[in-house]
């Protein structure tokens, strides 16, 4: 057994191991930097979820409607007739925009809910 271990004690073994360790230490590692938050957000916005862009458009239109509704409610108490008419018109336009965006979203999702082939 001792004779077997002695066969491993060769003259070049020590320098060889040291060379490998030194090589590993000085080899540059690929940079793994943390992605900035803005880049992550941008990637999230453009990710390839089905109908993701339609959902984004819908929620944008929906938020605009909520803002138009609040504007309308604020105008009602002391607003002039013209101001009230203007805010009512903006509310109507915002609701129409939600309708269009919602229709597009439903149209995009309908084929995905099928359990079989969709015939257009």
């Amino acid at each position: 057994m001792n004779a077997h271990f002695n066969t491993l004690r060769v003259r070049w073994a020590g320098p060889a191991v040291l060379t490998v360790l030194f090589g590993l230490a000085v080899t540059p590692r690929p940079a793994v930097a943390a992605a900035p938050a803005a880049a992550v957000a941008a990637a999230t916005r453009t990710m390839a979820l089905p109908c993701y862009q339609e959902a984004i458009a819908y929620i944008d239109a929906w938020i605009a409607y909520i803002e138009a509704w609040r504007d309308y409610e604020n105008t009602l108490p002391g607003g002039t007739e013209q101001e009230i008419m203007d805010s009512a018109r903006r509310l109507d336009q915002a609701a129409t925009a939600v309708g269009t965006a919602g229709w597009r979203l439903v149209k995009c999702l309908a084929p995905l809910s099928s359990s079989g082939p969709i015939i257009p």
């Binding site: 929620i59 409607y65 597009r104 309908a110």
Partner: protein, 148 residues
């Protein structure tokens, strides 16, 4: 023995023929349905728009047409491709799409009508952390009928 085998073979052939005939009887082509009509109602907040719907069965599939009722806006060309009629009911599970602003949830339900399934209701709801939940957007097909 030979006679018995012959009788068994004859019975098997008869059964196969009967099953095939039943299948053909329930197929859309022999059902005679050519189209679906109804009223499409679109609702959101104070907005209500209605359209006369007619979906023709063609060789290529289903071809919908919408005619505005009252003061409804004419539907854009891009909106006509909505699958109002289709061959199956679908899974029925809601689609939940998270976005940076909030979450959009859409549920589509179809109901059987003759050989096909017609859109019963599509509802889109939104949950925004700062604003909470607001009005739903819905598209419904009312009074769907088969045209033979």
């Amino acid at each position: 023995m030979k006679t018995l085998l012959l009788l068994a073979a004859l019975a098997a052939v008869t059964a196969v023929t009967a099953v095939t005939a039943c299948d053909r009887r329930t197929s859309p082509t022999e059902n005679g349905a050519r189209a679906v009509t109804g009223i499409v109602e679109l609702r959101f907040g104070s907005l209500t728009e209605r359209y006369d719907l007619r979906v023709e069965r063609t060789d290529q599939g289903f071809a919908p047409s919408l005619t505005p009722i009252g003061g409804a806006h004419p539907p854009g060309r891009g909106l006509l491709g909505l699958a109002f009629v289709r061959p199956d009911a679908g899974a029925g599970d809601p689609f939940v799409i998270p976005t940076p602003q909030g979450t959009v949830t859409t549920r589509l339900t179809y109901r059987p009508l003759g050989p096909w399934h017609v859109l019963d209701r599509a509802a889109v709801s939104v949950a925004v952390p700062q604003l909470g939940a607001g009005p739903e957007f819905t598209v419904a097909v009312l009074e769907p009928r088969l045209v033979r």
